[in-house]
């Protein structure tokens, strides 16, 4: 009895793996087909580097405990983190909705969320070589910015980046469900970008923020999407306590909410006549 249940479970997981592999390969092929897209992508993710160039000219950084070098480490890390936590599920869901692709997905024996999740992961892999190239070029022009995170913190960073990605994906997924109601996700996406831009630590490390704003930001999920993994990757110590519990609470809450919004969304979608 137990064994049967176990094998059933295992075959389901195996099936999910096969779905992932197939999606990975086809998505990778698709991305390569659009190879110029990847380049555009890389350009569009340069905001942390722009902010770095601005801050490095400013005296203000010393007042919140940075020097030009570790600030550079922070922003370069933020650049890398941003590249691998990019989420565009709202846009693809809106597209698929308009093109009527959702209905066939709903009929397939794989939960649609995995389809989008996997396609994100594979697309991020296709971006890996280009990100490495850009980092290499950056270090070539600015050798004094060079650093290597040690293996331990690198592994932890990869873990936190992945968690960050999942967190961001969940947020976007929940918002994407509103897609089903409005048909117009682009404006919501723009709205969601604002707290991400100003609270995640993309525009300045959190240390630069006034105390109250910083405390407020740390209660939102946004710093855990960018600030936390960037600090990890740049191997910097935290001179204030980050509440890991907040991160976990957010993950649990968002997972539950995403399941519910998905159900409500699908119900609404089918009520509309699919």
């Amino acid at each position: 009895m137990f064994k049967k249940l176990f094998t059933k479970k295992r075959s389901r997981i195996f099936n999910l793996y096969r779905v992932f592999r197939a999606l990975f390969i086809s998505q990778y092929a698709l991305m390569v087909e659009y190879r110029a897209e990847i380049a555009l992508w890389a350009i569009s993710g340069t905001l942390p580097l722009i902010m770095l160039s601005l801050w490095s000219n400013s005296q203000a950084i010393y007042s919140f405990g940075y020097n030009p070098i570790n600030l550079a480490h922070y922003f370069i890390s933020a650049f890398v983190v941003r590249q691998f936590t990019a989420v565009w599920v709202m846009v693809s869901l809106e597209e698929d909705n308009l093109e009527g692709k959702i209905s066939p997905y709903l009929l397939q024996p794989v939960p649609p969320i995995f389809r989008y999740l996997f396609s994100h992961i594979s697309e991020q892999f296709s971006r890996l070589p280009l990100v490495l190239l850009m980092i290499f070029l950056l270090f070539l022009f600015k050798p004094n910015y060079f650093w290597l995170p040690n293996i331990g913190s690198l592994i932890i960073s990869i873990g936190t980046i992945f968690i960050a990605f999942l967190l961001r994906f969940l947020i976007h997924w929940i918002f994407a469900m509103i897609c089903f109601f409005t048909d117009k996700a682009s404006s919501l996406e723009r709205l969601l970008l604002i707290p991400y831009l100003f609270l995640s630590g993309m525009i300045a490390p959190l240390e630069a923020y006034p105390e109250q704003i910083k405390q407020f930001a740390l209660l939102t999920p946004f710093p855990y999407i960018l600030y936390l993994p960037s600090k990890m990757l740049s191997s910097q110590s935290f001179n204030q306590t980050i509440n890991i519990e907040v991160l976990f609470i957010w993950i649990v809450v968002l997972s539950i909410v995403s399941v519910f919004t998905w159900r409500i969304g699908v119900k609404h979608y089918s009520a509309m006549g699919a």
């Binding site: 659009y34 992508w41 601005l54 400013s58 846009v91 409005t182 723009r190 709205l191 604002i194 100003f198």
Partner: protein
């Protein structure tokens, strides 16, 4: 006489375009609320970040707080143009290439670039337009700047040049959708090109300034119009701005023609 006829024809077309897109937008009421919210959020965030630069120094690249506000004001105006015209039309172009309805546009007796660039109009740029003007006004008054009519006109001309430069860049990106069909990234690129215009060019490291002036001429979008308004824009720089605007614009027209050749020789 013939010219006037053509202009009248295009005005009539634009009027039809925009009244139809306005009635589409009004079908989605939630959007208005969301757009106003994001304008306010953006303004608060931008002011907050700008203020962080002034915690230790009282200048940013030689610009005092109030003149930085003017730059932020111009940035907000640019953003209103982007929201109203560039973004909605860009996603439209890419969609039309994707599903082949570009064919219909090409078979209309109208300039296809004009059609594609100004087919829709989103009213949600208006809040940013108002906010931008207010920011510039506050900057001028609080900074005790005196502006005469001449510098107002020059600044306006330079701002138009900035819009032309941005438009041309944007249309170049849109043209590439003939080869690479994906909407989202192009919008992202546009957004990130813009973001560096929030701050005066002189705040950037020396090595980056030529890039931001000539290659991605962000300088002419916000810094130069602000300088012109304050009467401190170097004449040569303004001439460069006008030249770049003309060159970029002409280039965008020709590039579109070139891209169309590919579309018409490869599509099926």
């Amino acid at each position: 006489m013939l010219r006037i006829n053509i202009i009248l024809k295009y005005l009539r077309i634009l009027f039809q375009f925009w009244s139809t897109s306005l009635s589409i937008e009004l079908e989605y009421k939630l959007n208005l609320f969301v757009e106003i919210l994001s304008t306010i959020g953006n303004l608060a965030g931008s002011l907050f970040v700008l203020s962080m630069f002034y915690t230790a120094d009282n200048t940013l690249g030689g610009w005092p707080w109030h003149s930085s506000l003017i730059i932020l004001g111009f940035y907000t105006l640019i953003e209103s143009f982007t929201i109203s015209f560039l973004q909605p039309n860009l996603s439209r172009i890419v969609k039309q290439v994707q599903n082949g309805t570009l064919d219909f546009v090409l078979l209309k007796p109208v300039n296809s670039q004009l059609w594609l660039s100004f087919r829709t109009f989103s009213p949600y740029g208006l809040p940013s337009l108002i906010v931008g003007i207010i920011l510039i006004y506050i900057g001028l008054v609080k900074g005790n700047y005196y502006v005469n009519e001449l510098s107002l006109i020059i600044s306006f001309v330079m701002f138009i040049c900035g819009l032309i430069i941005l438009y041309s860049l944007w249309f170049l990106i849109a043209s590439t959708s003939i080869w690479f069909v994906k909407i989202w990234n192009a919008n992202e690129v546009l957004r990130s090109v813009l973001i560096s215009g929030r701050y005066p060019i002189s705040a950037y490291p020396l090595a980056l300034r030529p890039i931001l002036t000539f290659l991605l001429p962000v300088a002419f979008l916000t810094t130069v119009p602000a300088q012109a308004l304050l009467g401190i824009a170097p004449f040569s720089l303004m001439m460069v701005g006008v030249t770049i605007a003309i060159v970029f614009f002409v280039f965008s027209i020709n590039f579109w023609k070139y891209a169309l050749k590919f579309y018409t020789s490869a599509s099926s």
